[in-house]
Symmetry: C2
Subunit: 145 residues, 2 copies
DNA sequence: TGTTGTTAGTTACAAAATCAACCGTTAACA
DNA sequence: TGTTAACGGTTGATTTTGTAACTAACAACA
């Protein structure tokens, strides 16, 4: 027997957010998968290194909130495919500095361009005001424990 | 060498949406997992049946955009745990009508309440205007192929 | 120093998601 | 009707994720 009140799944923020996130990730996902055989974790690591330069896995974890095992495996695969290199830290030999190779930077630049234009095709569906508010609200929701 | 332009990961809608979705799902996930040992796919099926009553797996797929194997397995588990029952369709014996049991409805009512109040604690972080625009924008993003 | 605790990152194993192939049933239509 | 295609749903193999336990390195401090 269905409930009659107004609380629909479409009104439940976590659900709505998930639907929007999945739907809006699809086309971009296709690109990094087809062009570079990457997974979501991998393009995220690639983007972090492309945007911020030399980082350790720890740094990436702090910025992205990805779990360290995800990062570890993404780094492994990116290294195997020569998108990045590792360099041990002299002072603290537990850490490794990660850096994109030429190939990595090329992939990053390519995907960065795709992302940028894809983001625009998404925001076309929204008014300027809507877009502004949306981004602000998402930031608030994203960074609260 | 990091790029200098303004296209940050935090400005990329699919990324932002994912971050917000993950973060905002966490606490609720904990509830249905702890109380009923359910997975995300399972509470989704539960909610669909709770909200809309008797449905086939196909219906749920159309509404939720979950892949049919996910639904099939979620239904199996929910049936095993006596949250729902299946009834074959007389006219088309490929289909099965799914319906919550008493236990299923009880779980649904419980989680429905949790979801409703959780949704409110989330929207407290936003102004009324922000919330309105956010929901509208998310709906637009969620339902475009 | 030596012991204990913590940290960065990896690995092993279980749980879950994905993908393709599959089964039985219905639809299309020659 | 008979044949082929499509559909609803399930299953199995492979991939990916999640969880815990682990290794090696460092830190704190007796």
């Amino acid at each position: 027997m269905p409930q009659k009140d107004d609380f629909d799944l479409q009104n439940f923020l976590p659900y709505l957010l998930n639907q929007a996130a999945e739907e809006s990730s699809l086309a971009f996902q296709q690109v990094y998968k087809d062009r570079y055989g990457m997974l979501r974790t991998e393009w995220r690591v690639l983007f972090h290194l492309g945007l911020y330069g030399r980082l350790t896995a720890k740094d990436i974890g702090a910025r992205s909130k990805m779990h360290k095992t995800k990062i570890s495996r993404a780094v492994q695969r990116l290294e195997e495919r020569r998108f990045l290199t590792r360099a041990p830290d002299d002072a603290d030999r537990r850490q490794e500095h990660l850096e994109l190779t030429g190939q990595g930077r090329a992939a990053y630049r390519d995907l960065h361009g795709v992302a940028e234009s894809y983001d625009q095709t998404l925001s076309v569906k929204l008014s300027a005001e809507e877009e502004r508010v949306l981004r602000g609200a998402l930031r608030k929701l994203a960074r609260m424990g």
